[in-house]
């Protein structure tokens, strides 16, 4: 029996209808309760059918959404719907992914082939143009359509969506963004395998953003297999944003128990990457050549020397934001000021506007070279937070305040300044942000994040 549900604001209602010969029975109430029941009888089956159709239309108009035919039959509404594809029309989208018209043309063609994706494209486009209740109605319809045709649209990954190990953003009929992660301790999902399925999925043909969270709650959180799966799948020419390591530390795992592994091969098959964010330990980057990259962030408790050098010598001429966490020697951090000299010289970084040299244990040494760093004049934001800057380092910045005067923001929070250092720095450099200093202990100063 069809079950319709209405969830909005504080409403949480269901409505069911069962047609049988010349009568039907409706049941309605709050979701989670049995509700009330009423049977109506008509002169003929045709009359009952007519009234039945009318009621269903009314409910749909009010925003009720069909919930499948029963617990085990979700997504069983695909009869008559078939997936179609047209390489030429897809090529038009690939050539200009922001061109909405290319999607609409493809949508029309898909609709003519009986592929429900065509309707989805039309609905989502209409929703993007609408506002208020009209937009909500269209979004609800799109959501219901995706649910109805989930096996066609998501293939084997429909189950991953159901268990919340996969969340996806549908944009004009296709998956634009996806996040893959074991939802919690109870999840046994093989994230590497799911990533392989995702890259092979027709719906993800124009995938733009991919985020990977926890892949393993038991023991170490290893990204090696995931990275291999993505690389062996041939990467993606459409992917612009990649975030590996979207977990909460220390609740889900420690940052040092997470192994990013060697991702150099993967980067070679992601030529259109614009933002890359990595969180975890044991990172190898190899020779970086990312012509479209705008933002790079690595958050770690210990960055190995080889990775420091990869970053310092990377080819990313369009880079605008660079954020590096160096980490603690106790957790494998290596390298110092001399190893990032190419960055300080602004070598190959003509567009760099925001630089974060964070979570480092060589901040005082860094302060000595920063005032004369060639890269400084082009920067708008400089972030030296979470490190071991002492009053001595702060004094160097104060002595050369003019060199930092052009910055919109200078962040030295979570270092190890004394109250005095904290008071003095903003007097010389008013836009310096000095809050949340950590305990200062001579000889026992660590980066904020290690373990």
């Amino acid at each position: 029996m069809p079950r319709y549900e209405f969830k909005e604001g504080s409403s949480n209602k269901f409505w069911e209808i069962t047609l049988s010969g010349n009568s039907f029975t409706t049941r309605w109430g709050r979701i989670g309760t049995d509700g009330q029941e009423k049977t109506q009888t008509f002169g003929s089956p045709a009359e009952a059918q007519k009234e039945y159709d009318k009621l269903v239309r009314e409910k749909e108009k009010k925003g009720y959404v069909i919930e499948g035919k029963g617990e085990d039959d979700e997504g069983g509404g695909d009869e008559g719907a078939e997936a179609a594809s047209n390489p030429e029309l897809e090529a038009a989208i690939l050539a200009d992914p922001d061109n909405v018209d290319a999607y609409l043309v493809y949508g029309d063609w898909l609709q003519s082939q009986g592929d429900p994706r065509g309707e989805l494209i039309a609905l989502q486009h209409a929703a993007s143009q609408a506002s208020g209740t009209e937009a909500s109605d269209l979004k609800r319809k799109a959501t219901a359509l995706i649910k109805k045709h989930q096996s066609l649209l998501l293939g084997e990954l429909a189950d991953a969506v159901k268990t919340e190990d996969l969340s996806v953003q549908w944009h004009l009929g296709f998956i634009r963004s996806a996040r893959l992660a074991q939802k919690d301790y109870d999840s046994g999902r093989d994230i590497a395998e799911a990533a392989r399925q995702l890259l092979a999925l027709p719906s993800a043909r124009f995938l733009r953003s991919l985020t990977i969270g926890m892949v393993n709650y038991d023991g170490e959180n290893e990204y090696g297999e995931l990275v291999s799966a993505l690389t062996e799948s041939g990467g993606s020419k459409t992917l612009q944003n990649l975030f590996i390591g979207d977990f909460e530390y220390p609740d889900e795992t420690e940052i040092s128990w997470t192994h990013l592994s060697d991702i150099s091969g993967l980067l070679k098959v992601l030529p259109n990457l614009r933002t890359l964010r990595l969180r975890g330990a044991s990172l190898e980057l190899g020779d970086i050549d990312l012509p479209e990259l705008r933002e790079f962030t690595v958050e770690t408790g210990g960055l190995p020397l080889s990775a420091v050098k990869s970053i310092a010598n990377a080819k990313w001429p369009k880079l605008e934001r660079l954020e590096i966490w160096f980490g603690s020697e106790n957790y494998g951090a290596e390298g110092g000021v001399e190893d990032i000299q190419p960055i300080l010289d602004g070598k190959g970084l003509p567009n760099l506007k925001q630089l974060g040299l964070r979570n480092a244990e060589f901040v005082d040494a860094l302060c000595k070279v920063l005032p004369s760093a060639k890269v400084l004049p082009q920067l708008e934001k400089l972030d030296l937070s979470m490190g071991t800057m002492s009053d001595e380092g702060a004094q160097v910045l104060i002595d050369h305040a003019a060199a930092f005067a052009h910055l919109k923001q200078l962040d030295v929070t979570e270092n190890t300044l004394t109250d005095e250092g904290q008071a003095l720095l903003p007097k010389a450099i008013p836009h310096a942000n000095v809050g949340n200093q950590r305990e200062y202990e001579e000889d026992y100063r660590y980066a904020a994040v290690g373990e």
Binding site: K7, E8, G9, S10, N12, I31, G32, T33, S128, Q129, A130, S131, G132, T133, A135, S136, K139, E164, S167, Q169, R176, S177, D184, Y185, D186, T211, F243, D246, E248, D251, T275, R277, E295
Partner: protein
């Protein structure tokens, strides 16, 4: 601004909310406000009641961050709290309490004390018809009850996280979550603020967890600056029982949209019914408060990501919320759903305007509020502000 009526400011005199507001008045070329400190007002209502009924603007600010005021409000709330099932401290127990920063003390009782004080203020204001009260006490009372606001906004068509009704204890909470097929809820003591007395309860197949700002220490429970995830089943149930006994809003946890990979939501400060300032609160975690590891995100990044129609719809919701309260300013916590597929109003705050170092057209938040407060009162001759001429619907407050 010559001839502008003077301000009366009820607040904690030593608090930066008051000192910053005074500075803002001075920068606007106005005399400083007549400050009526909560601490003294609670023992000597005459400090306010005996002021003359002459043209003045009355601003009410937070009672928080003062130990003396906290104790006084606890005592004031005692008679109303007895028998409600929440934690109760007798006046004698309150007197014996040592100063213990951040310790959670009978939040419902404290709130009931505050409600009593608000109704006393209302009576004083009724005797002073020439005063223009920038936030009506009854509106402040509503804003301090998340159970009221959530339902009122939903009734006005504003999307809010769906509340779970019928939760009285831990068992019924689990039961209702099963019925609603809901894996994760926010449990917030309905009069709490700044993410105090709050937990995110998540049902797992093998174990339940509670992510909370409450720290359980040997000397008591504390509001902590560190968000923790608690997994020990007994402790999870203890904390939930406490939150529910104090009177909590329970609502579905809605996945938040991301900016650059981080979670975020917005504090939208509404002044006279219009969005005046927006702070993007970005965080590694779904709890984005700036004192809990969140940071101010980049407004430009946000505008680059949010679809125009989603932004317009969200601001319309904010207007509806602001107009539901007779207050000059309301600080709305607004979230966008994952992938910007919608928005929800999480809550609204009566004292949500402490946003230092923000400027718009050269004005700080307080300066902006002062300008807007004076805008409709140029002559200094009206005793009460009239209904705005362009609005006729009774749904709109005076501040639209």
């Amino acid at each position: 601004m010559k001839g502008a009526p003077p301000f009366i400011l009820i607040g904690n005199a030593e608090n930066r909310r008051v000192t910053l507001f005074q500075e803002a008045l001075v920068r606007q070329g106005l005399p400083p406000a007549h400050v009526v400190p909560w601490r003294e007002l609670l023992t000597t209502p005459g400090l306010l009641a005996d002021l003359p009924d002459s043209e003045a603007l009355v601003r009410i600010d937070a009672t928080g961050e003062s130990w003396e005021v906290e104790k006084a409000l606890l005592k004031r709330g005692y008679p109303d709290a007895v028998g409600l099932g929440c934690s109760v401290l007798s006046p004698e127990e309150v007197d014996r309490l040592p100063v213990d920063h951040g310790r959670i003390l009978a939040p419902r009782q404290h709130h009931l004390g505050f409600l009593r004080v608000l109704s006393e203020l209302e009576a004083i204001f009724a005797e002073h018809p020439r005063w223009r009260v920038l936030q009506q006490p009854s509106a402040i009372a509503d804003l301090f009850d998340k159970r009221i606001t959530s339902r009122r906004y939903a009734a006005l068509g504003v999307p809010v996280p769906e509340p779970l009704d019928g939760v009285t204890d831990v068992d019924s909470l689990r039961q209702r979550m099963r019925e609603e097929d809901c894996r994760e809820v926010f449990v917030k003591v309905s009069c709490g603020s700044s993410a105090s007395c709050l937990g995110i309860f998540r049902r797992g197949r093998s174990a339940d967890t509670l992510t909370t700002t409450i720290e359980v220490a040997p000397t008591g429970w504390y509001n902590s600056l560190k968000v923790r995830r608690i997994e020990a089943p007994e402790q999870v149930d203890d904390l939930l029982t406490f939150l529910l006994n104090e009177g909590s809003q329970v609502e579905r946890a809605i996945p938040k949209a991301r900016l650059g990979g981080d979670y975020f939501d917005c504090r939208v400060l509404m002044v006279r019914g219009e969005p005046a300032f927006t702070v993007v609160r970005q965080s590694q975690r779904p709890i984005t408060n700036l004192h809990l590891g969140g940071w101010r995100g980049d407004l430009e990044d946000f505008h680059a990501e949010v679809p125009a129609n989603e932004l317009a719809d969200a601001l319309e919701s904010c207007r509806t919320v602001a107009r539901a309260h007779d207050c000059l300013h309301v600080g709305i916590d607004l979230m966008y759903e994952e992938y910007f597929t919608g928005h929800r109003v999480l809550e609204a705050n009566a004292f949500g305007d402490l946003l230092p170092n923000l400027r718009r057209d050269g004005l700080t938040v307080y300066e902006w509020e002062i300008r807007e407060a004076l805008r409709e009162n140029p002559s200094g001759t009206r005793s009460r502000m009239p209904e705005p001429k362009t609005r006729s619907s009774s749904r709109y407050s005076r501040w639209t």
